[in-house]
Assembly symmetry: C2
Homo-oligomer: 339 residues x 2
DNA sequence: GTGAAAGCGCTAACAA
DNA sequence: TTGTTAGCGCTTTCAC
């Protein structure tokens, strides 16, 4: 592997000059530069970013901490879409992306900030971790610039991008109310997700506006998980036959509810209306197609990367970005009809 | 950021000793080691992998070159599943993954091997690039160990994992033949994918066994693309009404064909049988559920990572891994019925 | 069992 | 415009 030293020798100059020439500094004679460039090409030179990073004290890498990068996440490819968005922005910059997957056993050995510090990443994007994750706090308090997805923490070095979850949920429930539903249950994620808290508020907002009393027994957690949602939905439906609509905090859970309904011979949407959240790919393909609150996951990733890199480049940008959601009315919701 | 120098100072030893202690060498006094460990913890030390990599001349990173990491790839999340598999294996090793996305404009500026060399990756996994990619050859010829996915090149430092495409295709077509179909068309990908070449052979194999003459006009390319497949399928079906079954080299293309059939009021599977390839998530969700040849994309990634890391660790492993496919018979195929 | 010193490939004062 | 020198944080001979 050729180094600038080799080039210097062949070109008959010092390494400094080589370095300057290669990095496009102006204070180098054009003839010298050309010579150096030629030699570099001839020797098939590649700069060693490791050495450069070491001395410059920045690595031009950004760490992507994700937790949903596993086999089970295929159905709900939230993580993938965010990753695509991140990648889209990053690949047009001169940064590279290093992946820290935290679903493995390794996460217990090393904290997020350790991973970042060891690799000397310039910044990090964090997605899919729970608010009760013991290492979240730590990475936020380290002075590594980071952008969180769906976790509203804002400091000097920390920003976040999220969507308007409260409003999104409200739209969904409002839609059900307009269809005449009064007995609307909610299957939420879990308490350690800010989005769950927000979506619950949106649900309550909508009820309030319509003067419908909030019944806490009708809100249960399905852990953002299809099977768990099935279980809680089953119990909910069986013990509260008056429920005519269910708002789910994720599409995956909505799919679980649809399964249960099918099993119980409850027709959707005639007997039960369902609204999901996310607009995953499957939402428009299941039968009947799922009414849901769409969030642009790709854009979330894109904006996160943009925010982070802008911060790293010293551009003084807002540290918060909230995207809008979009209610997609499909075929799992219908006018209430009391049989 | 604390360095071993800081630790040495506080612990009252030399940097050499610190290095040895931290790296678990045996020739260091237990008391000294303990002291050093304590100081390291106290100072919240993180090793600088950049410096280490520089001197050791290996980075403990593996590069992942993919081309399908963009918004459009959501439906056909082949890339994502492979990535998950890679990640699964890698995250249980002490390597990290660095993502080189090549769909961007950047790919034209820097070749794959340049990317790899600059970042000093120890090895690379390459997925989703075409055999006519000008930079493929280059990276293969560089002496960077790499594992290719679905490109059968084998050298001292290059291996690959793939599935048995020929057999998979044969199974699919054989299935159609057993159902009584004689006029079976194929929508292939493109000529710069080895899998397309192989699947075509499998198609021909099946015909041959059944003594059905091969008609080259009935094999058209859809570029692994839903829209393109729609177009070619339309032409194919309209000008050859005798075709009763179509084998597609990807599920995405099969979806395109299904769309066309719907538009032409051709009932599936009654009037037209369709077999796809891949078994993407949607395959089992579309209506009717798609009969297809399943390949385990997650495992492909997993095996690729395993092969690469084993190679890097000097384990002498076979450089080729061929996985089996699995014909999933669902509801787009039916006994031929000449009306 | 420990330390001094060299060096990995690069950048950046400072001097000439 | 160019070169000398030091140093980024680490590992590794080699000597003690």
């Amino acid at each position: 592997m050729t180094t600038i030293k080799d080039i210097a020798k062949v070109a008959g100059v010092s390494v400094t000059t080589v370095s300057r020439a290669l990095n496009g500094y102006s204070d180098v004679n054009e003839a010298t530069r050309k010579k150096i460039m030629d030699v570099a090409k001839e020797l098939n030179y590649s700069p060693n970013t490791l050495a450069r990073s070491l001395v410059m004290n920045k690595s031009k890498t950004i760490g992507l901490l994700v937790s949903g990068l596993n086999e089970g996440a295929v159905k709900d490819n939230f993580t993938f879409e965010v990753l695509s968005g991140v990648n889209q922005y990053v690949s047009d910059s001169d940064y590279d992306l290093i992946l820290f997957s935290t679903n493995s056993t390794k996460q217990r050995e090393k904290t997020y900030s350790q991973l970042c510090k060891e690799r000397r990443v310039d910044g990090a994007i964090i997605q899919g971790i729970r608010t009760d994750d013991p290492y979240l706090q730590e990475v936020v308090e380290s002075n590594i610039p980071c952008v969180l997805i769906d976790i509203p923490i804002e400091t000097e070095t920390v920003g976040y991008v999220t969507t308007n979850n409260r409003q999104g949920a409200q739209k969904a429930v409002d839609h059900l109310i307009r269809l005449g539903h009064q007995n609307i249950a909610m299957i939420n994620g879990h308490e350690f997700a800010v989005v769950s808290q927000e979506r619950l508020k949106g649900y309550q907002d909508a009820l309030k506006v319509a003067n419908i009393e909030f019944n806490p027994d009708w809100v249960v957690n399905g852990d953002f998980n299809e099977e768990a949602a099935e279980k809680v939905a089953l119990k909910l439906i069986e013990s509260n036959p008056e429920i005519s609509a269910i708002f789910c905090a994720s599409d995956l859970m909505a799919l679980g509810v649809m399964k249960v309904a099918r099993r119980l011979n409850i027709r959707i949407p005639e007997q039960l209306s369902i609204v999901g959240y996310d607009d995953i790919l499957l939402a428009s393909y299941v039968s009947p197609p799922l009414t849901t609150v769409a969030q642009n996951k790709f854009q979330m990733g894109y904006e996160a990367a943009k925010m982070l890199i802008h911060t790293l480049e010293g551009k003084d940008e807002p540290h918060v970005k909230t995207l809008d959601t979009d209610l997609k009315i499909r075929e799992t919701t219908k006018k209430f009809n009391k049989n």
